[in-house]
């Protein structure tokens, strides 16, 4: 009996797919099972195919696989869309009494399970609950004790009143009973184990938001855009509890400028957007760097260019984040590789920003943003959060940073490149800051020596940070393996699972997941030690592979995916195997 269950509900946008899926995911997580969820969605509000997929196991799960064991299909299209993942013995739950599903027949080898979802929902108190009937049916199919749904239903409907919760519980039970009575139970080979573990279930955007609060972020300004909006929605209402504020700006230009203003006033401040918004913010990005303002700018990448495919996965903004903007702009680019890393790297981003008075790009991608995963709550250890505000100077220390005319020197060319910083309100610290080239007082200059001094000073901060901080990779697998795989962003989970498949095929790999895009670890030695180097990323041209080649002066192989869908573990294992086979064929 497989313990690794892959379940999905699919239908049209507006069918309540997301909330139903989330209820099931939460029920599994509360039953002490690990969960990993993913979403297929189109860029429309009503109509259009949508699915919510839940993978669950008692072992930790890090990604999606190309397999679907139980599918709740509200439309025939749902079955068509998932045909590749359905397999012999997959169960398809559908409402045979629904007009659009009347003539549905389960494909060869699969088990069609008609359940009168709407009718049973009406029996329980309302047709709206038809998805919940389906959930009850799915619980029975998987032998998952239906009591586990109860708490999740309470969480979802609790504030609508006890009777609504009771009706939903009843709906689920009607679904369950229907399966018990009407169908031969032996046909189904699922049995879900539960444990006493307590897990939390969250997505990458939520982890970024939670990290921001933990790090002392108090001001957030943003403009809605998929898939970054969840960061703003998470923070709204929560940031306020800590004396902060979330401001919905009129556009991204305003959003980043507001965040910049708040940062100048001393708040830890952040904005989040996706590619098109990063384009708009780039003008001010240069100002943030030149004015040496600490700011965290989060880019949750989606498919581009232009408006591209707003609801699809891609890692196509790396070049933009590394090089975007006119002139030369010192910056940090930090890209968390898992949902829990979204939390930790956000905290780090705030510390880097203030320590070095530099903008930090915090890079997520759609797959990280919309997938949820279970974790031990200890992974989000609030006690270990450290806050480093860098060279903040108060009234008592200000004297040592004044020039002969008692003027504060906010851009003093210190050897490490980091100048003192005073916040408005500090007496004696008043100063000017500008995007124009300036002297140590912050005043405009075109003097050649001063220009060179200030450019060097700003770049020196990056050099200092290279020495003082840890810009390492995360390592997995056999460190002596001949094959080295590199990736960035959300591919880590799929790759880690792919290693299991590769292991079964006796392919040993060393896998480095790189969370720092700039500065980044020097991979020369690792690459020289390997026979084959493959860089995995969700874009067409291999932007990270280019960077690695440039750094190490070594050619690497590339696995790219840019159809809008994230890598799946089994698929990735296959593509790595193909690359290696191909490599062996080519004489060297």
């Amino acid at each position: 009996m497989p313990d690794d269950l892959n379940w999905a509900i699919g239908g049209e946008a507006g069918d309540g797919i997301n909330s139903t899926g989330k209820i099931f995911a939460q029920a599994l997580s509360r039953a002490g099972r690990h969960v990993f969820t993913s979403k297929d969605f189109a860029s429309r509000i009503r109509g259009g195919y949508t699915a919510y997929k839940v993978r669950s196991s008692t072992e930790r799960v890090e990604s999606v696989v190309d397999r679907l064991d139980i599918l709740i299909a509200l439309t025939q299209r749902t079955v068509e869309e998932n045909m590749d993942e359905l397999h012999e013995g997959s169960v398809i739950i559908y409402d045979g009494e629904r007009t659009m599903m009347e003539d549905f027949e389960a494909p060869e080898g699969m088990i069609g399970l008609p359940v009168p979802l709407k009718r049973l929902a009406e029996d329980a108190g309302g047709a709206l609950m038809q998805n919940i009937v389906a959930l009850g049916a799915a619980c029975e199919v998987a032998n998952f004790p239906i009591e586990n749904l109860d708490e999740a239903l309470e969480k979802r409907f609790g504030d609508k009143g006890e009777s609504i919760v009771a009706n939903n519980r009843q709906a689920a039970r009607l679904g369950e009973e229907h399966v018990v009575e009407e169908l031969d139970h032996d046909e189904f080979d699922y049995d879900i184990e539960t444990t006493d573990n307590d897990y939390v279930l969250l997505n990458g955007d939520e982890a970024i938001g939670m990290g921001a609060i933990a790090a002392g972020c108090r001001f957030y300004s943003g403009y809605p855009i998929t898939p970054a909006t969840d960061v703003m929605e998470y923070l709204k209402g929560r940031l306020e509890r800590y004396g902060g504020h979330v401001m919905q700006a009129e556009d991204e230009l305003a959003a980043i400028n507001m965040a910049l203003g708040a940062a100048r006033a001393g708040a830890r401040s952040m904005t989040a957007t996706s590619g098109p918004g990063i384009d708009l913010m780039t003008e001010t990005f240069g100002l943030v760097a030149t004015s040496e303002t600490p700011l965290v700018i989060c880019d949750v990448m989606r498919s581009g260019p232009s408006t591209g495919m707003p609801t699809k996965q891609e890692q196509g903004d790396l070049d933009m984040l590394l090089y975007g903007g006119h002139g030369e702009i010192p910056r940090f680019v930090v890209a968390p590789t898992t949902i829990s890393e979204c939390f930790h790297k956000t905290i780090e981003a705030f510390n880097l920003a203030e320590k070095y008075q530099t903008p930090v790009y915090l890079v997520g991608d759609l797959a990280l943003a919309v997938s949820e995963q279970t974790f031990e709550p200890e992974e989000f250890d609030m006690d270990s959060v450290e806050i480093d505000r860098g060279k903040l100077v108060d009234e008592n220390e200000i004297d040592s940073w004044l020039n002969d005319s008692d003027q504060f020197q906010p851009h003093f060319p210190a050897a490490d490149g980091i100048s003192p910083r005073t916040l408005p309100g500090t007496s004696g610290g008043a100063h000017m800051t500008t995007g124009l080239e300036h002297d140590e007082l912050g005043r405009r200059t075109e003097e050649q020596e001063v220009r060179i001094e200030q450019v060097d000073k700003r770049n020196q901060k990056v050099e200092t940070a290279k020495n003082e901080e840890d810009w390492d990779y995360r390592e997995f697998g056999d460190s002596d393996a001949d094959t080295l795989v590199l990736s960035w962003g959300s591919n880590e989970g799929a790759m880690r699972e792919a290693m299991g498949f590769l292991d079964e095929a006796d392919i040993d790999v060393r896998f480095l997941s790189v969370p720092y895009m700039f500065p980044r670890p020097d991979l020369t030695e690792e690459i020289e030690a390997a026979d084959e180097v493959i860089v995995v990323e969700c874009n067409a041209t291999g932007q990270f592979a280019d960077v690695v080649e440039g750094d190490t002066l070594t050619r690497v192989k590339r696995i790219n995916k840019y159809n809008g869908v994230r890598f799946k573990a089994d698929e990735l294992a296959e593509r790595i195997t193909e690359k290696l086979d191909a490599a062996q064929e080519v004489p060297t």
């Binding site: 609060i213 933990a214 902060g244 230009l253 305003a254 400028n257 507001m258 008043a430």
Partner: protein, 287 residues
């Protein structure tokens, strides 16, 4: 705040590079006097400026200041005021800066009604880029980029502000030092977004909207007995395109600024050394 602050304390030791006679001198002096008269000092004042001749103001004043990118000074001011409500925030820019590239931000800043002051040095031309038409240039104003005039209606910033439910809308003339100072001072004292459009002549590129022109044309609203709390009367004045008014055109005395509506009264710079004490509650929400 200390009571013995003089307006010259807001002067930096940098000599302005504005053309001799530029209207911006008078505009800036009035701003400094208004700040000093309202009991502010350089250490609690934050001046944000845009780009243009007008935008250079932050360099010539002494205070906490940011000289930003073209058209985006208002959002910066909004961020500063949100993060630290104890600061006096004054934003300044030109007509190109505020009504062209920054027009969107202008309208939204007005309707947001943050408690701050916005002073626009309106010379009806682009000064720093050497004399092209601006959004407030006259329809037939000839420039290098509009040799036959822009042939489009000028923006009426006061009307935009009123339409966006502005709570303080005023206009002044930089060379009428006393009135200009008074008006900016009232804008600073206003609880909400105090907007002042200042006629600030460009002596180098605009030979139409000159000191002489404004001196002759200006009508003082106080002398007319205008009641600034009367919105309909304000609208009439604003839509009267044949007259150049100076004074407070509209003021909503009941205005409740954004920062008060949203309870922004803490200095957001003050944060704990680690995660907030109850931060584990944030994790618990995900059970």
């Amino acid at each position: 705040m200390s009571s013995d602050v003089r307006f010259t304390d807001f002067k930096s030791d940098k000599q302005p590079t504005w053309c001799p006679g530029c209207g911006d001198f008078g505009t800036m002096n009035g701003m400094m006097k208004a700040l000093a008269n309202t009991g502010n000092d350089p250490d609690n004042t934050f001046v944000v400026a845009g780009i243009g001749c007008s935008g250079k103001i932050g360099t010539y004043m002494h205070s906490y200041a940011l000289h930003g990118v073209h058209g985006r000074a208002l959002p910066v001011g909004i961020g500063v005021k949100s993060a630290n409500p104890d600061l006096e925030v004054m934003v300044s820019g030109g007509d190109g800066d505020g009504y062209s590239i920054g027009a969107g931000h202008f309208v939204h800043a007005v309707r947001r009604n943050m408690d701050m002051t916005y002073v626009v040095m309106d010379n009806r031309i682009y000064g720093l880029t050497k004399g092209q038409a601006s959004p407030t240039s006259r329809e037939d104003f000839e420039t290098a980029t509009t040799p036959d005039g822009p042939k489009q209606a000028p923006v009426n910033p006061l009307a935009l502000a009123l339409a966006a439910d502005g709570s303080f809308i005023a206009q002044s003339f930089s060379s009428d030092a006393q009135r200009h100072t008074e008006i900016v001072q009232q804008a600073v004292e206003h609880d909400g977004f105090g907007f002042v459009n200042v006629y600030s002549p460009c002596v180098t590129f605009n030979d139409v909207d000159t000191y002489d022109y404004f001196r002759d044309a200006i009508v003082d609203l106080d002398e007319e007995g205008h009641d600034p709390t009367d919105r309909d009367a304000a609208q009439k004045k604003i839509m009267d395109e044949d007259t150049e008014y100076q004074g407070v055109i509209y003021q909503d005395e009941e205005s409740e600024p954004y920062n008060e509506r949203h309870g922004l009264d803490e200095n957001m710079a003050d944060i704990p050394d680690g995660a907030p004490e109850d931060a584990t509650d944030l994790v618990r929400e995900f059970y």
